[in-house]
Each structure stands twice: as C-alpha cells, then as structure tokens.
C-alpha cells in the first residue's frame, strides 16, 4: 500500500511488514533530506501533497510493480509537512523470492513516484529564502498517460 505520513517514518517497523515465508529477498530504499541541492546549502524542507490524487496514483504505481515484477509485497510511504536534514522523506520496500525482482521493483517504484505522484518539495536554504522545486524532467502537459 501507498501512504502519506505527517509524522516521522519508522523504517524498521515498515520493513518488518515485508516478511513472508517465501521472501528470500527484501530491498528497501530511504530517500533522505540532504544538506545541499543544486549548489545551494539546504537547511530543511517541506512537502505538500494533493492527498486524494497522490494516494490513487501511488497505489497505481504499486499495482504496476506487482504486475511487472515477480514480487510478494510492495509498500511506499511518503512524508508531508516539515522535515529536517537527515529525515526520511520517502521509503520504499519490496520483498520477493529472489533479489533481481526485488531490486528492479524497488527502483521502478521510487522512479515513478518521483515523476508522477502529485507531491511538491519546498526547500529552505541556509541563506534564509525558500523555493518550490518544479523540475523540467517530470511529466507535464497532455500526458495524463503513463497509466
């Protein structure tokens, strides 16, 4: 399942939910807040989401991963609200019988979440100002697709 969290992500608790007697491989990914971006010193950041659409798009991505890869469990949790350096911003966990599918599905999920799920990052810079990131590489325009 895909979720949004307003509180600190407990990665150990989430990872335990991947357990399964047939799961010989568990791959997890933490996306963490770092202290710099694009040459600027970052003090912290905040995420804003369109919750209804973020949840349905996130679930769609997990369903796609289950269809494309031979996996057992797939989960993703994304933070919203204010975060500090080092906080976990997004967590992805996949379990599978074998490692190839687990690695591939985990990579697929984080890449698709970053490019499709309606969540926006506002960076607070050490210099005192802040700004929304609206990268050029994400899906825009007449491309509702990637369905």
């Amino acid at each position: 399942m895909f979720g949004l969290s307003e509180v600190r992500i407990d990665v150990d608790c989430l990872a335990r939910e991947l357990a399964h007697a047939s799961a010989g491989a568990c791959v997890t990914f933490d996306g963490r807040v770092r202290d710099h971006n694009d040459g600027r010193a970052v003090h912290g950041l905040a995420y804003q989401a369109y919750p209804d659409l973020a949840l349905t798009e996130g679930e769609k991505i997990l369903d796609e991963a289950r269809r494309r890869f031979d996996i057992i469990h797939a989960r993703c949790l994304h933070r919203v609200g204010t975060l500090e350096i080092g906080d976990v911003a997004v967590w992805v966990g996949v379990s599978a019988a074998h490692r190839d599918a687990a690695f591939a599905a985990c990579r697929y999920i984080i890449d698709e979440v970053k490019s499709r799920v309606p969540i926006w990052k506002n960076e607070r810079y050490v210099s005192g100002d802040s700004g929304w990131l609206h990268p050029d590489s994400t899906s825009v325009g007449d491309d509702p697709g990637i369905m």
Partner: protein, 79 residues
C-alpha cells in the same frame, strides 16, 4: 460555469489561497487556466501543467462541466 479550483505549491503561493470558487464562461480547461493565470499572475504556461478534474488526471481537451473540481498541477518534486 461554476468551478472549484485547487492550487498547490508555487501556484498556491501566487494565488494566496489553497482553493477558490470561480465563475468562468468557458468549458475549455486552457481558457479557464488562462483567465486564472491573468488574475493571479501565474508564471507557468499551461503546457507545463498537468490537469486533474474531480480527483483524476485527465487531458486538456476534456470539456469541463458545471461544479467540476479542477486542479492545475505544476511539475512534481516528491522523493
């Protein structure tokens, strides 16, 4: 037509509100955005935005209907 508009990220900051109701005499999403862009001074061309209507992504050529909830989504930056 009466619409309810949702704003996020830099569009929310520019509009000064997270949502608003408006009356616009068009069912064309690009025309609706153009009017709101003029009103609030949005920097994005509509080509840079995705469109969501009533909680689902859709295409810009879909005609809008009375009371639709419309979100113009700037490029996302989660993760």
């Amino acid at each position: 037509m009466n619409y309810h508009i949702l704003y996020f990220a830099s569009l929310r900051d520019a509009a000064g509100c997270d949502s608003e109701s408006c009356v616009i005499d068009s069912t064309n999403a690009r025309e609706v955005y153009a009017q709101l862009r003029q009103r609030h001074g949005f920097s994005f061309e509509s080509q840079r935005l995705r469109l969501a209507v009533n909680g689902e992504f859709t295409t810009w050529d879909r005609p809008l209907a009375e009371a639709d909830e419309i979100a113009f989504l700037p490029p996302v930056s989660g993760g």
